[in-house]
């Protein structure tokens, strides 16, 4: 069998950004498809195959957790191919480095794969056009692909894609410098709203998530893990657990030493014939734990330590001018401390994974955001070569960063190996909330100095939080450049004296990415403090924010000696562009009717924040009842995310971001006592429900710039805009989340 007949790498330019894509020309590659014709398909790269029936099979290599990416990237490819969307099938890729990066995290999918998808589609389109030209014996320049046909323009003859596959499959893929990409005006799908490909499966209950996978002979597992991070089983008695009908055995999993990274937490696994039996038996386990070094973790005490760290001098991450001097001589001095708690991800599908270890091979079915890391981790815990591990990616019932960590998949792999049968590990909601990779708690201290005219002349920002790096390496006490680059050092205001510092903080739980990550606390503090400065200056928040942002320009952090990774993208392609930030701010203010009259105890609040190389501004309108209860009649959000693929999904992400932002602001908090999470399930770990849901109006700023992120940038401005609105409504400043509404009662 021929494999990888030719293989080449080429460079693809996307604006000034340069990506490397490896295309494989593999004429025997077949889609994993029941419908694929038995003849040789046209498959010029790993993302695409066209068979002689004309069916176009596009491989979605990023994970679908609700953003619509399984639809969005195929839209880009199909558009460039001139394919008829009705003749496109989507298959989900397994975890394999040949697809390039598959870690669906960091709002990167469209940012990093818009151009590769265009290139992949264009290559096949040109091969089809060349095939038609050869068939008709006419110049290829007279042949144009249009909606699943190639048309000979002078004569209007046409041949369907399927009929050209046999000839095209024998042609070499065109080299990158010969690819002819469609102009924006020629686009057929990109920029237009399309329903997601999984819509009908979802609404009929036939969509398959990780938790829905069933294999013959599969055992069902529930695992009792130590309530304290780093603890282990000292002794246990499983007699009563084993007596539960349907229970087959109780198996101990060794905990990985801390920091445990992506490896299993360890514990006692009940293996049963159904999930209910496994869960019931777990409650009958008698376990004595050695709680280990984190048994003293206490959120109240930790908050005090973190706040002290944020008030003291820290590591300097950015320094312009002389903040101490400017503060000392300023006409007005403003100080504020902000606090954001731990959050749990709480995806509606708790972590779940199916593993089948069969001799020296392992096959996984899991809702993973990062199948390549899952593959590595599973190989590591089993002692297998990575080539012996297959990762099948199901739909994800929410991700929010939780499912980029494959610890739950590794648990399933280890247990299948021990038990000698396929297993499904299903986390309970309590497991998910108590043993999560928590969003970092964060304390911040800000000081600002205003001159006699109310202009900001000094900005001091100190932040302290446990770093995500602490989950992977010991003795991490400070944030890294990527973390401080999420809303601290990239503060965009035109202030001549700026100092950003990072205080020490130790981690006592697994800290992990949570949608929008460190932008949540940092945007909360920065966008709230801008509002506090406006109030101190006696100015309208919108007018003051415009002045803080200053004239249109690109902020050059490198010239300031700041280490700023810019979400992994080149700063030339994705600058910190004040002009664009101002456009987004002005758009949201206009749409929201900023400045219009409101009843007493109603208010509007504003925030704008750049993250994941997009800009989102929000205006939240709040009404505060005399008893302190809040309602939120309306939210306006504007986004500049560059080129938009599927505008309906961009709007959906903003609508959802408003809700997640309200969960963070109003309801959710994980607190620790004696090293244990005090919450357990939705009754005490609350998230936003339909009753608080505002009418969210999502506005997209038209742009033909390179695509930015969409999944995460909507969340950060919501909490500060809400708190600024409460201040506008009643003069009460909120500096800690979740909001204690008892402070909002009418005096």
């Amino acid at each position: 069998m021929l494999k990888n007949v030719s293989r080449r790498s080429f460079m693809i330019a996307a604006g000034a950004a340069v990506f490397v894509l490896e295309l494989e020309l593999d004429p025997v590659w077949r889609p994993r498809s029941a419908y694929a014709a038995p003849l040789r398909p046209l498959s010029p790269n790993v993302y695409l195959s066209i068979d002689e029936s004309g069916t176009v099979t596009i491989t979605a290599h990023r994970s679908e957790m609700g953003t619509g990416i399984r639809t969005g990237l195929p839209m880009v490819l199909a558009d460039e191919l001139e394919a008829d969307w009705q003749k496109v099938r989507i298959v989900q890729a397994q975890g394999d480095a040949k697809y390039g990066d598959q870690n669906t995290d960091g709002s990167r999918s469209v940012r990093h794969f818009f151009e590769p998808m265009r290139q992949a589609g264009a290559a096949a389109r040109q091969m089809l056009e060349e095939s038609a030209a050869a068939t008709w014996k006419v110049p290829v320049g007279e042949c144009r692909a249009r909606n699943h046909y190639v048309v000979h323009v002078p004569t209007n003859r046409r041949l369907p894609f399927g009929g050209l596959v046999r000839v095209a499959a024998g042609l070499p893929a065109p080299p990158p410098d010969r690819l002819r990409l469609k102009s924006a005006a020629e686009r057929r799908y990109v920029g237009k709203p399309l329903p997601v490909v999984d819509l009908q499966d979802i609404i009929h209950g036939t969509a398959k998530y990780g938790i829905d996978v069933r294999l013959p002979g599969m055992k069902y597992v529930s695992i009792e893990r130590c309530p304290v991070y780093g603890g282990k089983v000292k002794s246990h008695d499983a007699t009563e657990a084993r007596a539960v009908a349907g229970v087959e055995q109780v198996v101990e999993i060794e905990p990985a030493p801390i920091p445990s990274g992506f490896r299993p937490l360890g514990g006692l696994a009940v293996i049963a014939t159904n999930t209910w039996a496994a869960q019931q038996a777990r409650e009958r386990l008698k376990v004595e734990w050695d709680f280990g070094p984190n048994a003293g973790y206490d959120s109240a005490k930790y908050r005090a330590e973190l706040e002290a760290s944020a008030r003291a001098d820290g590591h300097v991450a950015r320094n312009n001018g002389d903040v101490a001097g400017a503060l000392a001589t300023s006409a007005h001095r403003v100080e504020a401390d902000y606090y954001v708690p731990h959050y749990a991800h709480a995806p509606m599908e708790a972590p779940a994974a199916v593993a089948r270890v069969d001799g020296k091979r392992c096959e996984i079915w899991a809702p993973t955001q990062d199948p390549q890391t899952a593959k590595k981790t599973v190989a590591q815990v089993l002692g297998f070569d990575e080539s012996a591990v297959t990762i099948n990616v199901t739909l994800l019932g929410g991700g929010f960063g939780r499912k980029s960590k494959p610890d739950f998949i590794a648990e399933a792999a280890v247990l299948s190996q021990k038990v000698g049968a396929p297993v499904k590990v299903t986390w309970t909601r309590e497991d998910e909330i108590r043993n999560d990779y928590f969003h970092a708690v964060c304390a911040q201290h800000l000081e600002g100095g205003l001159d006699a005219n109310g202009r900001a002349v000094a900005w001091l920002h100190r932040t302290a939080f446990p770093s995500i790096a602490s989950t992977f390496q010991p003795n991490v006490r400070y944030g890294n450049a990527g973390e401080l680059g999420q809303g601290v050092v990239d503060m965009p205001y035109a202030i001549s004296n700026v100092r950003c510092e990072n205080g020490a903080a130790d981690a006592h739980v697994r800290i992990g990415w949570y949608r929008s990550v460190y932008n949540i606390p940092h945007a909360f503090a920065v966008c709230s403090f801008a509002d506090e400065l406006a109030a101190a200056a006696g100015r309208d928040p919108l007018a003051y924010l415009r002045e803080l942002l200053g004239p249109s320009r690109h902020i050059d952090l490198k010239a300031m000696g700041v280490d700023y990774p810019n979400y992994g993208d080149p700063i030339d392609a994705y600058p910190i562009d004040i002009g664009r930030i101002r456009v987004v701010l002005d758009r949201v203010a206009k749409e929201a009717g900023w400045g219009g009259a409101l009843p007493p105890r109603h208010g509007r609040g504003l925030a704008v924040h750049r993250s994941f190389n997009s800009i989102v501004a929000a205006v939240v309108q709040v009404a505060v009842a005399d008893n302190g209860d809040l309602t939120i009649p309306r939210v306006d959000m504007a986004i500049d995310c560059g080129t938009v693929v599927n505008p309906d999904r961009v709007r959906a992400q903003l609508e959802g971001a408003a809700i997640m932002g309200l969960s963070n602001a109003l309801y959710s908090s994980i607190t620790m006592k004696d090293g244990k999470v005090e919450q357990s399930n939705f009754p005490d770990y609350a998230v936003a429900r339909i009753d608080i849901t505002p009418d969210t109006h999502a506005h997209i700023v038209a742009s033909d710039e390179v695509p930015g992120g969409v999944g995460e940038p909507g969340v950060p401005p919501i909490a500060p805009a809400l708190c600024n609105a409460i201040f506008a409504a009643m003069g009460k400043r909120i500096r800690a989340l979740p909001i204690d509404t008892s402070q909002l009662k009418k005096a």
């Binding site: 609404i203 209910w276 971001a657 399930n681 936003a688």
Partner: protein, 150 residues
């Protein structure tokens, strides 16, 4: 040993009487459209109809369902195109989609009982169903449009 009727079919089960219908459906019968979300009746992901009324299958034992007709998302509407499902598609409600079977079952029960619900009635009926993606605004709109279509 209990038996249950699900979407018009009878299943004889070899399970204990206290097993929740959720796990009977998912692990024994093999209908996985009904989702586990919390296990304590606090999120609505597992919502089914028991004799036409919306219940949380995670806290409804198989004994409680004896002699009653269970309808799951797979059995909603004769051809799987209940007005609520059509409205859901028209509004492009789902994001990850995991909670949507429960949302749809809850909404279908609401409209059966209250064909023209007020905004307040929609909020009251749907407040037990969590969507972490935050699709509530479109859920509200889809219920209103389904109510107009019926």
């Amino acid at each position: 040993m209990p038996s249950v009727r699900v979407n018009g079919r009878t299943y004889d089960l070899h399970v204990s009487d206290d097993m929740p219908v959720l796990w009977v459906l998912r692990d024994i019968v093999g209908l996985t459209g009904t989702k586990y979300g919390c296990g304590v009746g606090a999120c609505g992901a597992c919502t089914i109809h028991l004799d036409g009324a919306a219940v949380r299958s995670c806290i409804t034992s198989v004994a409680d369902a004896a002699g009653k007709e269970i309808t799951t998302i797979e059995g909603l509407g004769a051809h799987g195109d209940h007005p609520v499902q059509r409205a859901w598609a028209a509004a492009n409600v789902p994001q990850c989609g995991y909670c949507q079977p429960g949302q749809i079952m809850q909404a279908a029960a609401l409209l059966k009982q209250t064909p023209k619900p007020t905004d307040r009635q929609i909020v009251d009926a749907m407040s037990g169903n969590i969507c972490r993606c935050g699709t509530y605004q479109r859920i509200r709109a889809a219920i209103k449009s389904a109510a107009e279509a019926v």
